[in-house]
Symmetry: C2
Subunit: 137 residues, 2 copies
DNA sequence: ACCCCTTATAATAATGATTATCAATTGTAA
DNA sequence: TTACAATTGATAATCATTATTATAAGGGGT
């Protein structure tokens, strides 16, 4: 598993780290273009895949929507906003879930699990309230 | 929310129920075609969406793969096979997870959560062993 | 049975996200 | 500096899903 740290790769990784967000490939593409105007979207996809295979970043595959990538690779869970699609980390005690307790079920060998919360984020809630107030006047 | 139970709708629902599986839209399409050869794939998608909106079936959106549908709507969690993509129910005590405990986090209003296990199912494990045995001879 | 109105259908085009292809370029190592 | 493998940019292809649209049913009410 040798992988050259090319300049494209480096910039993509740095942008993701600096963002402190869970970005999609095309969001990252837009950001990275500022430094490398000739970079291709395919290169962004390819390198995000390579980096996540190498365990340098995480890949988030949340319920039926666009993949997002995460510079934070320590095991943790996420919450997403049903309205604006944003994804945030969530504090959740993963010790509460014991894979061994369900391991026998159906004969699977369990290799991992994730907990995915959904809801409405605070800024979308605020927007809704503003809109409601506006309607009422 | 009135919805006519058309014959297409009825057959799709019945096939899903009788399957006792978590089928994709195109798997269901193949099955339903045996009874309605002229049915369209779009009709299957449309009706699965309608039925799940009405709460008659469940829609499973599992980590970055094709949607699957579930005739069992009681709250429960799933496990999927990394190799063959099959999805099974999992026995998992949902009381272990307390949304209220994470609700304050980031100001989200949490409306739901799901726990998703992954692993290798027993038949894929068996196949691997068979293959390994074959290689060793 | 006939008309009206709404909803659903089949066929197919369009979309959006992602992956594959491939010729050209670059990095590295002998 | 030659030679090989990995990577890139450009773009085509793919896959799952949704949108479009003309046509066809499904129910009333008369």
């Amino acid at each position: 598993m040798h992988m050259r740290m090319t300049s494209q790769r480096e910039i993509i990784l740095k942008e993701l780290q600096d963002s402190h967000q869970h970005l999609t490939a095309d969001e990252l593409y837009e950001r990275v273009k500022k430094f490398m105007p000739r970079i291709s979207l395919a290169t962004v996809y390819r390198n995000l895949e390579t980096l996540s295979e190498a365990g340098i970043i995480g890949k988030l595959e949340i319920s039926g929507r666009q993949k997002r990538f995460d510079a934070d690779v320590h095991p943790h869970d996420h919450i997403f906003c049903l309205q604006c699609q944003r994804v945030d980390n969530i504090e959740f005690d993963r010790n509460l879930v014991n894979p061994a307790a369900v391991a026998s079920d159906k004969g699977y060998r369990i290799t991992g699990y994730r907990v995915e919360f959904k809801g409405i984020c605070s800024s979308c809630r605020n927007n809704q309230e503003k809109k409601r107030d506006g309607d009422e006047q």
